[in-house]
Symmetry: C2
């Protein structure tokens, strides 16, 4: 493992892979003293090496890696085709149940209670732990599963037993729900990260690639450990320098980075500049229907794939927020995406085409244009026109990663187009990793949302996995914007690691609950750390902090789904009118009488009509629209009664007073755990929670004062408003 992993545990660098020494176990348990691996595949080697490292770290003794079975218990790692000892533990049916990147783990059969004493057995059949996959990637994921189990004494599905560290009795099958489980980096080559809140880029500095490959490898390990297998390594806003990533100037560097991640089963993607034929090729146009343009991209693809033969493909933000695209030439997005897709097709490359296309030069005076409608209006008419290797990337909501939005109506509406659901792990609008905001509950709501696209049960998770419309296609899945940077603890706020962890786990298995994921992450991160061995109180208290945090953050920020009450540009801190008179299509229309955006079909922008029934009807009426989305869909008087029985204005006051109190409570809860945490970890989190508690008061007072001054309606409880 990298030298960086030797950093003190309390730095947070090792994150959930810290594999602290298990003080209850004196030496390496017998069953894991030898790892038997067949095959030279580098991902398999990574798997073996990870297992060896994890066991050594936890048990204080290094297991041997062997190519041949031994006469004592061991762990067999390998794929069904390549490792006979692995294959023989599973029936043909059992093997067939494993998907391309899935795995099976099987423990030692019929464990002999006296085994741990006797330590010997002539018949090795069944006397070994098996981690098996169709591919070495599956084996790697299986290894991380076993390590999670040993490290946390837990598994999402299996509860720990005392014996388990001695003799794993696992019998586990796990297949990823989503074929594509991706992370987007918005890193720029100058070392900055667009919407980065944890330091600079780990990939670049000063317009060159990093030389710190150890850090990249540790990042690959973190990602692989939660099943991520795709990574775009540069900002979707492709600036001048980054445009050259697909040229000789940088392709050798891209190849080096790809090699690091390849060893962990992760495919690299590049974000490209749609205008590259002009900027790099000297053409006068980037028109997708111009043969010279298509030809330029074909030649370019050949060059790129010569350097990185297994490149995942291109990520494209076109005609969006001032980026160039096919609109410039009167073409539609299928023209643009397909032209690129044809160029990548010979190499198995994909085009991931973002649907974040809207008019960002909107006149705030114009109440008819509705940014929320834009993705649907642009892409629904193109359904079915895209090549097999094009995937449309759709943000979870119609706006932009607000703390509360409805689900994008494009999910389900596209029936014959492969899609990726885009989340944002980076807390751009949710406290920027200064505030605690565990986002898994939000993501779960999205994934579990029923679109009714093909009747009841047409959930988002079934749509984005392909299960609903096209179960045979594998160009489906989930992608998310990274929250990591060069900060030692990766995410700035140590507890924000839970979002990276949770995202990966959820992309693998969207049926995991937010609670289960929080439980795993807390145990892995805080179990056997600091002054405590992760007792029940610590675990459950931390878990509750995480589970409460999204709701806490929502309660003191923009109310009832209206969004956007943040400082322009940097998006941190309250500014109720910050986006009210802007070009960004992001308004609340508060006046002295009321607030909200009328998106109904009857009297508003018609956005509510983009959903399938019954959602469209639910949103259309204030009688049925959920309170938390009321102001997203309706403009109502401050005196409008919510389903909660409270008026809108009193709800604003109440939630903001309570929210600030709850933020203070998060801090107090942390303080109450002081004795159970090591000092350095305690301090780094405390600083953020203290800031959050103060900043929540600022949110409270600014929002409340704004609405009191505007409405003239006093708080029923007469609390201080300015």
């Amino acid at each position: 493992m990298s030298k960086l992993m030797d950093m003190p545990k309390e730095s947070g660098y090792a994150a959930w892979l810290h594999y602290s020494r298990n003080s209850k176990v004196e030496k390496l348990p017998a069953w894991c003293r030898v790892i038997v691996v067949h095959g030279t595949d580098e991902v398999l080697q990574s798997a073996a090496s990870e297992l060896q490292h994890g066991l050594t770290s936890m048990f204080g003794q290094q297991p041997k890696i062997s190519a041949v079975p031994v006469n004592t218990p061991f762990i067999a790692l390998g794929t069904f085709p390549e490792h006979p000892l692995v294959a023989e533990r599973f029936s043909a049916k059992e093997q067939a149940e494993v998907s391309a990147e899935g795995y099976r783990i099987r423990g030692i059969e019929m464990p002999d209670p006296a085994y741990s004493a006797s330590h010997g057995n002539d018949d090795i059949k069944g006397q070994y732990v098996t981690i098996a996959g169709q591919t070495s990637k599956g084996v790697l994921y299986g290894v991380f599963h076993l390590l999670r189990y040993l490290q946390g004494g837990l598994d999402g599905k299996l509860k720990p037993t005392t014996e388990s560290v001695h003799v794993p009795i696992l019998d586990q099958l796990s297949n990823p729900a989503n074929s594509i489980r991706m992370i987007n980096h918005w890193d720029n080559m100058d070392g900055s990260i667009e919407r980065g809140y944890a330091g600079g880029s780990i990939f670049y500095d000063n317009n060159a690639f990093t030389t710190n490959m150890e850090r990249l490898r540790d990042y690959a390990r973190l990602l692989a450990s939660v099943g991520i297998q795709a990574l775009s390594i540069n900002n979707v806003n492709v600036h001048q320098v980054e445009t050259e990533l697909i040229t000789d100037k940088f392709l050798p560097d891209v190849a080096k980075v790809a090699a690091v991640f390849r060893a962990y089963g992760i495919q690299i993607y590049l974000s490209i500049n749609y205008a590259s034929p002009i900027q790099l090729g000297g053409l006068t146009t980037a028109d997708p229907l111009e043969p010279a343009v298509a030809e330029w991209w074909q030649t370019k693809a050949q060059e790129v794939y010569a350097a990185v033969p297994d490149l995942g493909g291109f990520v494209v933000k076109a005609d969006s927020e001032n980026r160039p695209g096919p609109f410039s030439y009167g073409r539609h997005h299928a023209d643009g995406a397909n032209m690129l897709a044809d160029a990548l097709q010979p190499y198995g490359g994909r085009v991931i085409w973002r649907c974040f296309v809207y008019n960002c030069k909107q006149d705030w005076r114009d109440r008819k244009t509705d940014r929320a409608r834009a993705a649907f209006d642009h892409f629904k008419p193109l359904d079915g026109l895209f090549r097999e290797n094009v995937i449309l990337q759709i943000k979870n909501g119609p706006m932009d990663f607000q703390v509360r939005e409805p689900v994008s109506p494009l999910f389900g509406a596209l029936e014959s187009t492969q899609v990726l659901l885009e989340f944002q792990i980076a807390q751009e609008y949710t406290g920027q990793q200064k505030h605690l905001c565990y986002l898994v509950p939000q993501w779960k709501e999205v994934l579990d949302f029923d679109t009714y696209a093909q009747g009841k049960g047409s959930t988002i998770k079934r749509i984005v996995s392909g299960a609903l419309h096209s179960p045979k296609h594998t160009n489906y899945g989930i992608v998310a914007v990274s929250n990591i940077g060069a900060d030692t603890n990766w995410t700035g706020h140590l507890l924000a690691q839970s979002n990276l962890y949770g995202y990966g786990r959820l992309a693998w298995d969207p049926d995991l609950s937010a609670d289960e994921i929080a439980d795993e992450w807390v145990r892995l991160t805080f179990g056997r750390q600091g002054n405590s061995d992760g007792g029940t109180d610590l675990i459950s208290t931390l878990k509750q902090m995480l589970l409460d945090s999204w709701n806490v953050y929502e309660s003191y920020t923009a109310p009832l789904g209206v969004g956007w009450m943040v400082s322009p540009d940097h998006h941190y801190g309250p500014d109720v009118d910050g986006y009210e008179y802007s070009m960004w299509g992001t308004y609340h229309f508060a006046d002295c009488w009321g607030i909200g955006v009328d998106r109904t079909t009857a009297t508003g922008t018609g956005y509510a009509g983009q959903y399938f029934s019954p959602n469209t009807d639910i949103y259309e009426s204030t009688d049925t629209c959920p309170d938390e989305l009321l102001l997203f869909f309706h403009h109502v008087p401050y005196t409008h009664l919510l389903h909660s029985g409270q008026t809108v204005i009193q709800h604003i006051y109440d939630t903001h007073f309570e929210g600030a109190e709850r933020a203070a409570h998060l801090r107090d809860t942390w303080v109450s755990l002081r004795g159970q945490l090591n000092a350095a970890m305690y301090e780094q989190v405390l600083e953020r929670l203290e800031h959050q508690a103060e900043h929540a008061k600022e949110w409270r007072d600014r929002i409340n004062t704004y609405f009191y001054r505007k409405s003239g309606i006093a708080d029923q409880k007469d609390r201080p408003i300015y």
Copy 2:
């Protein structure tokens, strides 16, 4: 002259010193074919060289410079003590009327109508034009006066005649009203300019001094031509690199720059970091009463003056907006300033100490603290405690260069302290040189304001010139923040050159009217340029544009003196609540009932009580408070009736609709002049005026919509509000 002066006239580089060829005069008039100079003083040499250059440029032939008189008419340049031919033209009384930096110009006596034909005269007495001063600086200013007269065919006091270009019959005495006529640069060594709107710094780039001394010299010429004689060359916010300006690292560069400006009679000042003893000296304190600190500064002053013997002194922003200062050590500002003054005193150096001291971490919830009070509250108690070489620099208003503020009550309140009045030529809050805003009318209002400090007639101009309190002291005057940068035309907006010109002229003579100054500048800049010879229509139309522009800008921005409705940080464009919930002490307190800041003594912050009677009473009551300052002093309902007879809310609507129309009219007026202007100058200004017209609409709609939404009161004329 510099090669840079060869840039095309239409670039605007030569500004009001372009000296275009006078096509009505075929050759060099006889009276100016020889310039007779006595003395080797470098400022006198600059004067001669400027005169030679100007005449050559205007008349197409180069005059000779001679050390001895000739037998034909000539121009005599020199000081009374050094140039006998100069001295003999003036009586002792006439000579005594000239102050240190003043001048006299006397034309050829009893001009012979046939003179221009005869071209000869044995008796040279009176047959020469004389430019005289007590010092060479006076002579230099006299030269620029003559050139102004010849170039524009005008003078503030004298009207042009056809004959004047042939035979000047001037008899002119001019003394500057203010001993100090200074410009502050807010340039940083990285090349940026804080509040710079015309490109980067001409002094620095990339943390080093410029090597473009020609540009600096041309800047010195522009400044000297309007009488500026002091210049601080770095930002008052002294960052890390700039802290080292007073060290060996940069002093040789400072000396080079000082030499360039010295030749034009301009003294250089440096802004210093109050914490230098710590940051440079390795001391643990910067306490002004700590002997080691005083000693450090004494040694430092010796070092600095060894490098630049005529350095003007130090400019200090202490205890202001996060800058260090004596408050850190529980000392007052006189302690801090005097300690520095003692260090500079042996070298004749001055300490210019800024009074822009206030709490910039104010809680917006606290309505009792009033930033407007701060300068008075901090410095009035210190009156009389400062050394002879300390000057307090006071911004014109109590806030910060808003489009409309009352005059700072500190003027007049300080009776035994020397003061500098600080203006801002840079249009930080007045359109950032994208909007036209000729500021001379605003400055005139300030200068003519009667403080009643010593009864009627105690005008600001008499206070800042020293005339009111201390006519013998010369450490009085006016300073202003520069509006120039590396843009070819110096000021970004070509017409913003009028503010630099106007500032200099006003600092010399505060009795000049805004109209006179505009007239001069327009004639000098647009006379004999482009397709026109500067006909009456062009001149008067352009002048009217300038004279209207401040009022136009005010009309569509923050209403009735309340200020601050700009985007935070960059201060450009409307954002009504942009500063409402900030720490900067800058609020309007608008709610659904009314708006304004109660600064009365009776019910408010008491700020109005800082003025002398009758001003204090005038401001205290809404009955007498001028409309344009109403919201600065009072919180009133939207339905409050102004003296104009209009309600506050209707006034807001009316001025904003009219303001946007008037901004469009500025553009239309410019367009109407197209035929009379050369294309390049026309286009560069048109672009800005078009932007202004559009941006004024944005201001109109945002301000009107904000107040309509907040007040719920409709426009009486039912114009579009959103």
